[in-house]
Symmetry: C2
Subunit: 333 residues, 2 copies
DNA sequence: TTGTAAGCGTTATCAC
DNA sequence: GTGATAACGCTTACAA
């Protein structure tokens, strides 16, 4: 391993001088600079980030905590975060939390032990003590918390749109999948949907889910059609749940969208290729990750951040699991 | 930040003693140990990994480099790696290479700058100088190289199976998508398929692709049916390519699998839900990641590794994009 | 403009 | 059994 000392020796200067040219700080004679740069070149030297980090008590590392990268929604968030971070020379320590409080705690500990300068997290436990204690910036992603900045989609509006669309397209006995109770964006979606359902007086039922796991979604889908066999419209809490519902509906011989309409949430890759392709409320996942990273960088750099909560717009993506909108019928709101 | 000094002071001992109980090394009196442990508890102390890493010249960090986590195949690899690593207390610095040599180089540099103890990579450039220079273990994942250990699926066998199956099920004018030329597993698949095609004397054509990107796959799919409109069977280089081919076939009004059979490779999530669901050659992605991590850990711990190359089995997953096998017709090999 | 040296939080060597 | 202390590779006062 070649160190700053080697470079100093090779260039015939002190380590302080090498450090100065490395960090472009303080005075250093043009000729000296060139000598040092030549030495760096020749020795193929790269500074040891660990030593730097130790002295400065901060690294160029960001902790990224996601529930499960295997769920197609999260890679896009991750990618958005990574792309923005790498533009500014930050790197990610990455972990899956599996919606486990213990794993989250462990990862948060790792992050601080490694002098991470910030944490971006799609936590399931935003109120957790571990977060509260942190004295580095935290940005919640696809989550909401009163005590930390956050980037998320407009769930309430998404829920409203889903309900409006499914009603406009003719469903009259709607079932709403309610996502995990402790996750705000999920509840917002739910409430937005219920709000419209109540206002328009359309009959609806509710099925509660506790996690985002596919397995649970499959069980709930069965439960749904067992409990409400005559439902003619399902507003799912996310696309994975919608897929489970779609599957179960088809298995029961129901025609989608003729007998049951289904609307998902997220717009994960490939759902446009299912049969029927899934209509959904699109969240701009990549952009959300990107924005979260942007916010984090501002926080790290100590800039005053006007907007601590960034809400992203959602939109209805019409595909085959909903019926065509009747042309002459206008439902306003 | 509470340091080992604080703990020492609090417990009325020296930092050396604290370090001893921390690392369970050397002699320390039972009573002293208890005092120290109490102090650690009370101060909620966790050792600074950066300082440790600096002194020992090695961290608990592993570099993981994947082409693009947004491609549904890679999250599973990542998850397998992560799960195994976390069992042994290792953490991941993660990066997407986008099949870019420069990005790979940058990430490798980061890894070494942060004292990573190993690198697991699905590189597109296994022969790259940056890898050669490394003096920490490298494990290639889903890639093959003569100078580094690797974990990959049996591509040749996969290609053979794909060809056999598509022939047995009746295709007689097969088109084979040849994956990126410099990636061994992709070439193995191709060669395996061609081998069987030639042996059985079935007519076939080849379309070359350069990357794994979906966009290119879509172009090649168009090219495929333009060049060989009467092909009745496509062996794709991976599932994303197969999806593109499926889409294009359907767009052209071809019936799948009646007029064209399609076989993918990988078995990524959700392709079983497409219409028709995609038949494919399954790679055990999660297991591959897990095994790669396992191999890496052995390498790190300096254990002699009998098996430097781990080849995983593949299997045909029959779904709707291939026809049923004629019951009375036996094709052997 | 450059060099010396202290210090970042650990671990490990060597006395005691 | 335990404590001083050098060392890991870097940055930054401070001195020259």
């Amino acid at each position: 391993m070649v160190t700053i000392k080697d470079v100093a020796k090779h260039a015939g200067v002190s380590v302080a001088t090498v450090s100065r040219v490395l960090n472009e700080i303080g005075y250093v004679h043009e000729d000296t600079r060139r000598m040092v740069e030549k030495a760096i070149q020749e020795l193929d030297y790269t500074p040891n980030e660990v030593a730097r980090s130790l002295y400065k008590r901060k690294s160029r590392l960001i902790g990224l905590l996601l529930p499960d990268i295997t769920n197609p929604y999260f890679p896009q968030l991750a990618r958005g975060v990574e792309d923005r971070m790498q533009e500014s020379g930050f790197r990610l320590i990455f972990g899956n939390s599996d919606e486990s409080e213990q794993k989250e705690r462990d990862y948060i500990q790792t992050f601080v032990q490694n002098n991470a300068v910030g944490i971006i997290s799609s936590t399931n436990f935003p109120g957790m003590e571990s977060y509260r204690r942190l004295n580095i910036p935290v940005v919640f992603l696809d989550r909401i918390s009163s005590d930390r900045p956050a980037v998320y989609a407009d769930g309430r509006e998404g829920g409203r749109i889903a309900a409006q669309q499914i009603i406009e397209r003719g469903s009259r006995r709607v079932t709403v999948l309610q996502g995990p109770a402790h996750i705000r964006p999920a509840q917002d979606r739910f409430q937005g949907a219920v709000e419209v359902l109540q206002d328009t007086g359309v009959a609806y039922e509710v099925i509660r889910t506790a996690s985002f796991a596919l397995k649970e979604a499959e069980e709930k889908a069965k439960e749904l059609f067992a409990a409400f066999p005559d439902t003619d419209g399902v507003i799912a809490s996310n696309d994975m749940a919608a897929i489970a519902v779609l599957h179960e509906a088809l298995r029961l011989g129901k025609k989608v969208p003729e007998e049951v309409q289904i609307i998902g949430f997220d717009d994960i890759p490939l759902i446009g290729l299912l049969s029927p392709p899934l209509s959904t409320i699109r969240q701009p996942a990549y952009d959300m990750g990107y924005k979260a990273a942007e916010l984090m960088i501002r926080l790290i750099e100590g800039q005053t951040v006007e907007l601590r909560n960034i809400q992203m717009p959602v939109e209805f993506v019409e595909r085959g699991s909903t019926r065509k909108k009747p042309e002459n019928e206008y439902v306003d709101r």
